[in-house]
């Protein structure tokens, strides 16, 4: 009974291609993986995915800054 969210990822990538083609596909895929992993978390664990995403964004900024 595994969720097959490929349609969701495809929709995300398609939306990015339409409105912000410069946004990194890798960032999108990684952020999607975080949300997919936590999609059925209880509300009291809501913070976890947000913190993971925040770290991902911070790492992306660092990476871009360092290059």
């Amino acid at each position: 009974m595994k969720d097959d969210n490929d349609m969701a990822l495809a929709a995300l990538l398609k939306a990015a291609a339409e409105i912000d083609p410069l946004l990194s596909t890798e960032l999108l895929r990684k952020s999607f993986a975080i949300q997919r992993r936590h999609q059925f978390d209880r509300d009291d664990n809501r913070e976890i995915s947000m913190q993971e995403l925040k770290s991902l964004l911070a790492a992306t900024i660092e990476e871009v800054g360092s290059t």
């Binding site: 009974m1 595994k2 969720d3 097959d4 969210n5 349609m7 969701a8 495809a10 929709a11 995300l12 398609k14 939306a15 990015a16 339409e18 409105i19 912000d20 946004l23 960032l27 999108l28 952020s31 999607f32 975080i34 949300q35 997919r36 936590h38 999609q39 059925f40 978390d41 209880r42 995915s49 947000m50 995403l53 925040k54 964004l57 911070a58 992306t60 900024i61 871009v64 800054g65």
Partner: protein, 661 residues
């Protein structure tokens, strides 16, 4: 996932231990559990729900209290231990999930759910897992949010019809559940997380700008809009919480009122019966009064035959007198004419002179008539007396309403019978509602109506708050754009995070709409495929989906079919569920409770032929009215892995037996 076994102890009607094994041969993946109503079919579905998610669902989708799950025959004997264990395989791993309930240490006799302690344990490949890992494991193969599509209650099929009604509470709820199974929450959570990060980054950006100098005005504006947005978001949160409370309260009232609906109807009937009885009693009084007046004159009726005879007699006498008087008047007139003719010698009719011969004849005639006149003897005193008597009798014989008495008596008798009936009915109805507070029911009805209005008012407020929120967010975005054009501001780390989080939030927001559109097209196509397999109506070409995932049947010209039967509803609902199952996840087990309620034989046969091909295991809890053991079972024989039957031991005790090997 492949289900292997389910065992339960003291769970609902299953006193002691019961156990079933699911079919694991993929070519014979159908399991049938027969059971009459009220024997424990839904309890088996609830055993699965309880072991996985710690809850059991009753009528109207309400959660059943833990206290009521423990077998009442066992609790009467002081045994408060309950347990459900399910074993299954997923992705090459073996799992055992166990949930137990027992009375708490210091409780001697539990009286409420809180007196029971629930514990759970999971083993993966025989190794115990920590409690904090269990939810994550369950969410991998059977998340609760999507459970309605694989632990499937036939009673809830009606709910899918609600998807065609835009804006209904139920349709929102089902739409949410559908989107859960289809993965929309992944994107919604992504958008929300990006938004939360963005807000924090914007605040940091404001603080950084103030420190830099030269950006005070932008920082001030940014802070102003951030404060406004926070305040509106808090308002919206409060309004949404209030709306939820109101809707929950209204649902509770709906349920309460549904339970006492028969009572409310009885009260209405009682009020009608009392009103009818009052009317009948009033009419009876009026008739009694009318009768008294009639009885006062009724003695005349007793004498009527005699008086009628007497009057006829007098009438005869009177008529004789009248005839005599008329005859005498005639003779007198003739005598007068003849006397005039003899005296004037002229004919009184033509005025011609009378000849002697004619004059003599007139004399003779005159004499004859004068003699005849002497024969008329009219006693005027007697005549007056007769006239007077006749007048008296006429007064007495004047028609009266006395004959109405019989009619009134009949009517009074009829009303007496009716009053007795109404009195009995009133007594029965009073008995039915005795001890029930009908004023409380009326209060709840009005309260429910008031809550519906309040919910609509709050929904309006939320809409207006959201419009304000959008406007303020737009202002913030404008400031961000201005700052992006300024190299010093742009270089700040917080500004880069604002830019990135903002871009991510926009992409996630757009992707939600994109996914919904894609899913609708996919679900429509998959549900249409299933529908064409399941329907017996060859003219139906498929289904059309609406924005709520509600499906409408299309005819051979692709025109919507506006009216559909209850059976067609069920087929459409099953097609939707099949479509969702294929759009949202890989084929897994599907457990269905009483799914064929409204379907005819042909539709049942189509479903029984089709569903085993689209699921890893198909478990059907049915009664014999749905699946015929003799005919349907014979057709399914090659696909059936095992058959069980639920048998009644007592009112609170059922047991389950395997009836095939």
């Amino acid at each position: 996932m492949i289900l292997q076994t389910l065992s339960a102890t003291n769970f609902m009607p299953y006193r002691g231990k019961m156990s079933i094994s699911f079919p694991t041969n993929k070519d014979r993946n159908v399991m049938l559990v027969f059971g009459d109503n009220m024997r424990g079919k839904t309890s088996l579905l609830n055993a699965l729900r309880w072991v996985f998610y710690g809850k059991a669902i009753g009528r109207h989708s309400r959660e059943i209290a833990l206290f009521d799950l423990v077998n009442s025959e066992a609790t009467m004997e002081g045994d408060w231990s309950m347990e459900v264990v399910v074993t299954f395989e997923d992705d090459g791993h073996r799992y055992e999930l166990r949930r137990t309930a027992n009375k708490r240490a210091l409780v001697s006799k539990p009286t409420r759910s809180e007196d029971l302690l629930v514990e759970r344990a999971m083993r993966k490949n025989d190794i115990p897992l920590g409690d904090h890992l269990i939810d994550a494991e369950i969410n991998r193969f059977a998340p609760e949010q999507t459970s309605r599509f694989f632990l499937f209650d036939g009673e809830l099929l009606d709910e899918y019809e609600q998807l065609l009604i835009d804006g209904s509470e139920q349709s929102k709820m089902i739409k949410e559940a559908i989107e859960q199974v289809l993965g929309v929450p992944t994107l919604i959570r992504g958008r929300d997380d990006a938004q939360t990060i963005l807000k924090a980054a914007q605040k940091q950006q404001t603080a950084d700008l103030q420190k830099m100098g030269g950006f005070e005005s932008q920082a001030e504006k940014q802070r102003h809009y951030q404060t406004q947005i926070e305040s509106i978001e808090k308002d919206i949160q409060g309004q949404n919480d209030r709306l939820k409370e109101i809707n929950a309260e209204r649902e509770q009232l709906d349920d309460d009122l549904a339970k006492v609906e028969s009572l409310y109807q009885a009260k209405q009937k009682l009020d009608d019966a009392v009103s009818e009885r009052d009317k009948a009693a009033k009419r009876q009084d009026e008739l009694q009064q009318q009768r008294l007046v009639l009885v006062r004159e009724a003695w005349k009726e007793v004498l009527r035959p005699l008086l009628t005879l007497k009057r006829e007699h007098i009438q005869d006498e009177h008529s004789k007198f009248t005839s005599q008087m008329l005859a005498r008047d005639k003779v007198e007139t003739k005598i007068k004419q003849l006397q005039e003719a003899v005296k004037s010698e002229t004919c009184q009719s033509c005025g011609q002179p009378l000849h002697e011969k004619e004059r003599v004849a007139a004399g003779q005639e005159l004499g004859k008539l004068q003699a005849e006149l002497l024969g008329f003897k009219v006693d005027m005193t007697l005549f007056s007396k007769l006239s007077s008597e006749m007048q008296s009798l006429d007064r007495l014989l004047k028609p009266t309403d006395a004959r109405q008495i019989a009619f009134i008596d009949n009517e009074v008798n009829r009303l007496s019978v009716e009053l007795t009936k109404l009195d009995n009915q009133i007594e029965d109805l009073n008995e039915l509602i005795r001890g029930q507070d009908t004023a409380e029911i009326a209060r709840k009805r009005f309260m429910r109506d008031g809550l519906i209005k309040e919910a609509a008012r709050i929904a309006g407020e939320i809409k207006s708050s959201q419009e304000k929120l959008t406007a303020f967010r737009r202002e913030l975005e404008m400031i961000s754009k201005i700052l992006e054009g300024l190299p010093k501001a742009r270089a700040a780390k917080s500004s880069r995070l604002v830019k990135l989080a903002s871009a991510l939030e926009k992409v996630y927001a757009r992707s939600i709409d994109q996914l919904r559109d894609d899913l609708k097209a996919t679900v429509e196509s998959l549900a249409s495929q299933a529908f064409r397999k399941l329907t017996t109506q060859s003219q139906y070409s498929g289904l059309r989906i609406n924005s709520n995932y509600g499906l409408t049947i299309l005819d051979e010209r692709a025109q919507e079919v506006p009216i559909r039967s209850a059976g067609a509803e069920q087929i459409v609902a099953l097609s939707l569920i099949d479509g969702l199952a294929h759009a949202g996840r890989s084929a897994g087990p599907v457990v269905m409770d009483t799914p064929f309620g409204r379907l005819d034989k042909k539709h049942r046969a189509n479903i029984l032929a089709y569903l085993p091909t689209t699921t890893s295991q198909l478990v059907l809890f049915v009664h014999e009215g749905e699946v015929d053991k003799a005919t349907d079972l014979a057709q399914l024989k090659s696909k059936v892995g095992c058959v069980y039957e639920i048998k009644e031991v007592g009112l609170r005790h059922s047991r389950i037996e395997r009836i095939n090997q």
